[in-house]
């Protein structure tokens, strides 16, 4: 099952990944990290993630640290 791993402490809340995901699986979450930023969260109940890594390539802060395809 394709999925991504987010390091929330690296997220600065630019939300570029939210627009980039072709399946719209990334959302602005409720939790706040030590920068005071509402970080991005990955919700994929329907197992739609393609593992395309567009989000990780777009992220300027390598907050999406791992992407798996399968």
């Amino acid at each position: 099952m394709s999925h991504i791993v987010i390091d929330k402490e690296r997220c600065k809340g630019c939300y570029l990944c939210v627009d980039e995901c072709p399946k719209k699986l990334l959302k602005v979450g409720e939790s706040v990290n030590e920068l005071g930023v509402r970080t991005v969260e990955f919700h994929d109940p329907g197992h739609e993630c393609l593992g395309c890594a567009m989000c990780a390539r777009r992220c300027p802060d390598i907050a999406i640290t791992e992407v798996y395809r399968g």
Binding site: K12, L16, A53, G70
Partner: protein, 252 residues
């Protein structure tokens, strides 16, 4: 269940535990990651020397796991020349902003290209001086409002912006000069290919290789990261056209 393959990871050339000091949504982070990925893929991390510059990338040695030297403002390519001539076995590269490369460092940059030094130069073009608060820089577009051009850049007072990749391509010593952008994921892939080419040229002893990267400065442009990418496409790209301006390896 299908087997999982990892298609993305943090490059090994990024220092463990380091966090970029750039503003939210700034494309600098993407450019640094691309350089790190290229160093990984070519297996040259242990043999590379970075010459860091002045600007937002001033603390680049905190993010990249390579030997580094900090250069005085604009003098990165002068320093890189010295390092490469003393240690020709090393891969020497600079990472500079447009203000560092094409304003205070224009003489060093152009003469390094004219001498055809076998080094790699990466230049981030965000049309402003980002670190110091968004002043008018050498690449500021005509009409662009900055803190030192509050009514917009006009030709009478400030003159024209410099097209760096074209100028470097005009130098006879240049082996490779390209302009790429980071506004979209396909363009990020093309940018990585250009950076890789610039490093491969040095490994092959081809000569001076240069990549200009169109980047964003959401903070000083007073735009969201998304709006900043739209500006790159709509305002910067018509003036700073993407492409390879010189490649002497093309016909061989």
């Amino acid at each position: 269940m299908a087997e999982l393959t990892q298609v993305f990871k943090v490059p090994e050339s990024i220092k463990k535990g380091s966090k970029f000091s750039f503003c939210p949504g700034c494309d600098h982070g993407v450019a640094v990651r691309l350089v790190a990925e290229v160093l990984d893929e070519l297996g040259i991390r242990d043999n590379s020397i970075l010459v860091a510059s002045i600007g937002c990338s001033v603390t680049l040695y905190d993010f990249l796991e390579v030997d580094s030297l900090e250069a005085p403002h604009g003098r990165a390519l002068a320093e890189a020349t010295g390092i490469k001539r003393a240690r020709p076995d090393k891969v020497v590269f600079t990472y500079q902003g447009d203000g560092d490369f094409a304003s205070i460092g224009m003489a060093e940059s152009l003469h390094c290209a004219l001498r055809g030094e076998n080094v790699t130069a990466i230049c981030i073009n965000n049309t402003t001086y980002g670190m110091t608060g968004g002043q008018l820089g050498p690449t500021t577009l005509l009409g662009q409002v900055t803190t030192t051009s509050p009514t917009g850049r006009n030709i009478d007072y400030y003159g024209y912006p410099v097209k760096i990749a074209e100028h470097i391509a005009l130098c006879d010593g240049t082996a490779y000069s390209a302009r790429v952008s980071l506004d979209s994921v396909p363009n990020i892939k093309k940018a990585k290919a250009a950076i890789k080419k610039a490093f491969e040229n040095q490994l092959n002893g081809v000569g001076f290789s240069f990549v200009e990267i169109l980047s964003t400065c959401p903070t000083n442009w007073k735009k969201t990261p998304q709006q900043a990418h739209a500006r790159v496409r709509e305002e910067m790209m018509p003036v700073y056209k993407l492409g390879v301006y010189k490649d002497i390896t093309e016909n061989n």
